[in-house]
Subunit: 387 residues, 2 copies
């Protein structure tokens, strides 16, 4: 095992990352931002349109959330960046005082936009709502995120679709690198409304050599931290897990490593074991709206199933969330059947609580020096169940 | 002015009503129940299907809610009374520890049911969901409410549609009286899961003599308190307000008077002035879901209106609700435009807060001996605005 990579540049003033303990690859860290402290590993709920769907800021916090993610693309389309600024910035709009990480918008452009024109300059496209043109460049996405008032901004990367040729992935690595250089150059020209860190994004698909190339190039640019991109684009589960393993250790040991767009207890376990510190995913809130509630062992319940109708027990006995402490499976079944808003709220609170609790337990295991037992116990129960 | 009517019978053990102050007809009262104390005048939000739509119990409480109303008919259809009982009763299902008043289900039968057969025995009908038969009798509606675990149950009354002949209304008064006698008779046979008060309901439409007849008959039956029924069935606004005036003083001074199905600041003002103490209405939550938010002067805002898009001000400057303290009109406009669940939650919190705050102010005005100023000031501002 080679010596861990160290970051070559300091973090932006007001930001800091400290590792309190580590075991194998797994780490218990503390990411400090001007908007608050994040104990890692940490999951970031997704607030697509200026709200984590169905939840008030207090409810978001109660689930254990320390930082939320918001989508630059959706906000740029509606209500628009100028409107967000006029209303006092994204924190004010969301009613959320804590840290906010915003994505660059690039991922949505590749997946939602149509008539995209990708060039060296950037991505020109028509938005998915009214077809209005929007130009995302390495510079403009940082301008937008600065105007939103993001705490952590992501650079524009080129994220090739799953299944494309090695050649395409290699080209995306090169372009992502050139865009990363431009993003860094542009930082000195940003009109900031509050301190903002910028994270670089590594690409390279499932190819070890391309991941290495991407990391080596990226680490020469003074970003605050680095993310693993391009892992949730449909290469399949095995590819996802192996890509995490070959990507995470390439990023600086002394900086938070963010695995973009991934969430799930098994994924958390494997990624944390490889040294990942931050996650985001729409699954806990989206699944909650579809009546799928997580259990702490990695399984889930379909609350619309008639077997829950008269069940007076909570979704999960040892869960301290509002849904489990105040409601029975029977009530949740009823609320989901009746499409009551409260079902979506309670389900989202529960699913986020399960995610956050799992990562807190992982953190504690690292701090207590029992990470390997924790990991192996969970994974063996998981394989017993699925086997 | 004749001497105030007094109740002839004591209240059920565990229940009490005390009047702390009164001025003209208006009173500041305290209704004590085994589930908690209600300072009157009080508004009851409606939890149709086991939830006040979009709100958690804590949010309901934060708006100033002291007691909620739940609909027997809807619960009897889905999830069913047996299911509610199996799940631990209505308080457990709703996650609400405070007092719950349930209606008899009669009103929904008259308005939602089809193929109703009204006879002396009761109302036989097919429910609006799957056409299953359900029989509501003066006895069965109390059995159902007892099984739900209601704190305050309402008797079955015959509520004639608006616009029917005086003769029809007179017949409904007579039948309502016979049903009230049977309801009272049945109380000794109820299988109670917790202490339950029972309120009688006066009918008589817009006719002063029929209201008097109904009240005189009703007051001979030992109910815990008495409600004014049949005022929200489409006789028009003037009829509504005048019926309140001729009905409320007929009911015992020393018991809470409940005006069924009415809500709105002007209605509150006129009804409280006539001695009404309790209200319920779906308007604050329903309107909130339709982007109509109340202001304290009795007017309202359509939050979907484009003029709010970039407005950084709160809905109401001096409102201490979550929507007003944490969000701007611009954000609420955005959330309503995007049909975000959070809009419905915040809007409901605001509208309920406006209702409750208004009644708290009315109560304080009575306690402080400035009721007439409070009333006249509000009504003159209202007529200035609408004039």
């Amino acid at each position: 095992m080679s010596a861990p990579v160290q970051a070559k540049f300091p973090m932006t003033a007001g930001f800091n990352f400290a590792i309190e303990a580590n075991s194998d690859g797994a780490r218990a860290g503390v990411l400090t931002t001007p908007r608050g402290v994040i104990q890692t590993p940490a999951f970031m709920p997704v607030g697509t349109q200026g709200t984590v769907k169905g939840l008030t800021p207090d409810q978001i916090k109660t689930t254990g959330t320390q930082i939320v993610l918001s989508n630059t693309y959706h906000l740029a389309v509606r209500p628009g960046v100028d409107t967000v600024r006029t209303l006092g910035g994204l924190h004010k709009v969301m009613g959320w005082e804590g840290p906010i990480l915003t994505d660059s918008g690039g991922f949505q452009v590749f997946s939602l936009g149509h008539r995209n024109k990708i060039s060296e300059h950037g991505v020109e496209f028509r938005n998915h709502v009214d077809g209005s043109p929007l130009l995302l460049t390495p510079e403009s996405v940082l301008d937008i995120q600065a105007r939103l008032g993001s705490t952590i901004a992501m650079i524009l990367d080129e994220c090739p679709a799953g299944g494309v040729s090695r050649d395409e992935v290699a080209k995306a690595v090169v372009r992502t690198h050139r865009w990363a250089l431009r993003a860094h150059e542009h930082r000195s020209r940003l009109d900031l409304f509050e301190p903002m860190a910028v994270f670089g994004i590594m690409q390279g698909g499932v190819h070890e050599d391309l991941r290495k190339e991407s990391a080596q190039q990226l680490l020469e640019i003074p970003f605050d931290a680095y993310a693993v991109g391009g892992v949730s684009v449909g290469e399949g589960r095995d590819a996802l897990l192996s890509t995490i393993g070959l990507s995470a250790p390439l990023l600086p040991f002394d900086r938070p490593r963010y695995l973009m767009g991934v969430g799930g207890l098994e994924e958390f376990m494997i990624a944390v074991d490889q040294g990942i510190d931050m996650f985001d995913c729409v699954i806990p809130t989206r699944n909650a709206r579809n009546a799928s509630l997580f259990l702490g062992d990695g399984s889930s319940l379909n609350m619309k199933n008639a077997r829950h109708k008269q069940d007076p027990n909570p979704v999960e006995e040892d869960c301290d969330c509002l849904a489990c402490t105040r409601y029975s499976r029977g009530t949740l079944h009823h609320l989901y059947q009746r499409k009551e808003i409260l079902a979506y709220t309670l389900g989202s609170i529960h699913n986020l609580s399960v995610f956050h609790r799992f990562l807190r337990k992982a953190r504690t295991a690292v701090l207590d020096g029992v990470w390997e037992d924790f990991r192996d116990g969970f994974l063996s129960r998981l394989s017993l169940r699925s086997g």
